[in-house]
Subunit: 225 residues, 2 copies
DNA sequence: GTTTATTATAAGGCTTACCTAAAAATTTAA
DNA sequence: TTAAATTTTTAGGTAAGCCTTATAATAAAC
C-alpha cells in the first residue's frame, strides 16, 4: 500500500511548470500555486522539495524552471496524457472537450509498458485531439511553429492548430462554438482599449477575449506568393 | 489538488474484503492487513473509518463484511479493473499475466463515463482474461458455478474457468505452465499427507500445491449421461 | 530613495495513512 | 478452566501535502 500520491503531486507540479514556462522563461510560484489551486506557501514548500530532487531550478523572486530531468519527466506524463486523449476520442467516442479531464486522471496511473503499447495501438499519433504535439517516449517534442490568435494582424488568415494550455472550462466554451483545430481562421479586427478580437472562424465571426485568444494557436497561411 | 488517494485506499480495502469474503463469510482483519501489506493496527483503524462511512460491518474478533453500499462500490471498482484487463490483453496485446497489475493502477483513475464507453467499445465482455465475471454497471455479478481444483475427486474432469483471486506471482507461475482458462483438466490423484495435487492440464501433468489449487477454478463436465 | 507590491520564510496546525510497542480483551485449545 | 493464541485498543510517532497568519526580504514603481 505504498503511497503513489507523492508521484501524482510531483507529476502535476512538473506538468504545470512545463505549461507555464512554455516560452522558456521562468514560471512564477504564484502562477504555479494558482493553477494548482494551492496556497503560495504550499507551492513554495513543494518547489523546494522538487529542487532537492533535482527536478526544478528555483531562482528566488523570479520563478522556477524544469531541470533536464524534470523536463523529461514532465514530457513523459504529457505523452501519456495525450495518448489517452487520442484513445478516448477516437475509440471511445467521448466528447472532445471532456477527455482532457479524464486523461488527467489516467496519466498518473499508466505504466510505461501500457503507454508504449497504447502508442503502437494508436499508430503513434503526432498530436492530441486538441492539436498539441505528443512527446516521444524519451521526452522529445517537436517545436511548434504557430502563433496565438492574440498576436495576429487584421487580414491574417490560416487555420487553428491547437488549444494550449487546455482546461475544461475553455474547451467547453470552444466546443460549443465549433472553435476546433483545423477550422479556417480570418482575423478581422481588434476592438479598441484592449477589447475582444473579432475573428471569423469556420464562416462565423466570434468576439474573443484576449485571455481566450492567448490559448488558441493558428498556423498562418503564407500569402507572400 | 484535492487528494484522490483517500479514494484509492478505500477502494483497495473494499476490493480486498470482497475477495476475502467471497464465500459470504467474514474477512478477518489480519488477513486484510496481510493482503494489503499493512500492519493489523493500521487495518483496524481503516476498518473503523470505513464502518463509520457505512461501507463495512465489523464483528469484533470475527472479521469484516461489506455493507450493501460497500459491496456495490467494490463491484464498480472490480468492473473497471476487469474491463481494463480485457482492453490491455485484446487490443494492446500486453501479456495475460501482467495486465492484472496494470489494471490495478488504472482502476482508481477511471471516470464512470470512461468505464461505460470502454465497456461499449469492448462489446460488453462477460469475463476478464483470467475468467472472472465482470460486474454490471450497477454492481451485480453473475454467481459462479465452478469448483476450486482443491475440491476435486480423482477422475473428475472439465476445463479451467477462472483464476481467483489474482496476483502477479500466481499468474506468472500459471502463464509459464500454460495453465489458463479454457484448458481441459483431468484430476489424477492427490498425494498423501496434504501433498500436491496431480492434475493433467492440456495434456501435461502438473503437481500443484494446495494453496495454488485453491486459486484455480474449473467447470466440471457432467458425466452422468 | 522611499513606498508599494510581490515573494519568501517562519511558526504552528490539520488530515490521511501508515508505523512500533505495549496492554487489554476475547476466543480457542489443551 | 487455565493457558495459549488471536484480536483489539491505547499511546506515541512519521511523512506528505495541504492550511492560515505573520514577518522578512527583495523588486518595481513613483
Amino acid at each position: 500500500m505504498k503511497h503513489e500520491s507523492f508521484n501524482e503531486s510531483v507529476e502535476m507540479y512538473l506538468k504545470t511548470v512545463s505549461e507555464l514556462a512554455a516560452g522558456n522563461d521562468l514560471a512564477p510560484i504564484s502562477a504555479l500555486a494558482e493553477r494548482l489551486g494551492v496556497s503560495t506557501v504550499s507551492a513554495t514548500e513543494m518547489v523546494h522539495r522538487l529542487c532537492e530532487k533535482g527536478l526544478l531550478d528555483h531562482t528566488p523572486y523570479k520563478g522556477v524552471a524544469l531541470t533536464e530531468d524534470g523536463r523529461r519527466r514532465a514530457q513523459r506524463v504529457i505523452r501519456r496524457h495525450r495518448l489517452w486523449e487520442c484513445f478516448l476520442v477516437d475509440f471511445l467516442n467521448l466528447p472532445w472537450e471532456k477527455v482532457h479531464d479524464y486523461a488527467c486522471r489516467l496519466e498518473h496511473a499508466t505504466d510505461t509498458a501500457v503507454t508504449e503499447a497504447l502508442a503502437a495501438f494508436l499508430n503513434h499519433p503526432q498530436t492530441c485531439p486538441h492539436g498539441n504535439p505528443i512527446p516521444s517516449a524519451v521526452g522529445d517534442v517537436a517545436a511548434a511553429n504557430d502563433t496565438p490568435l492574440g498576436d495576429l494582424q487584421p487580414g491574417d488568415h490560416g487555420a487553428i492548430s491547437r488549444i494550449y494550455p487546455e482546461s475544461l472550462l475553455l474547451l467547453d466554451y470552444l466546443a460549443a462554438r465549433g472553435i476546433l483545430p483545423g477550422q479556417p481562421v480570418e482575423f478581422e479586427e481588434i476592438a479598441p482599449f484592449n477589447g475582444p478580437l473579432m475573428i471569423k472562424i469556420g464562416g462565423e465571426t466570434h468576439a474573443l477575449g484576449q485571455e481566450i485568444a492567448a490559448h488558441i494557436f493558428m498556423e498562418l497561411t503564407d500569402d507572400t506568393h
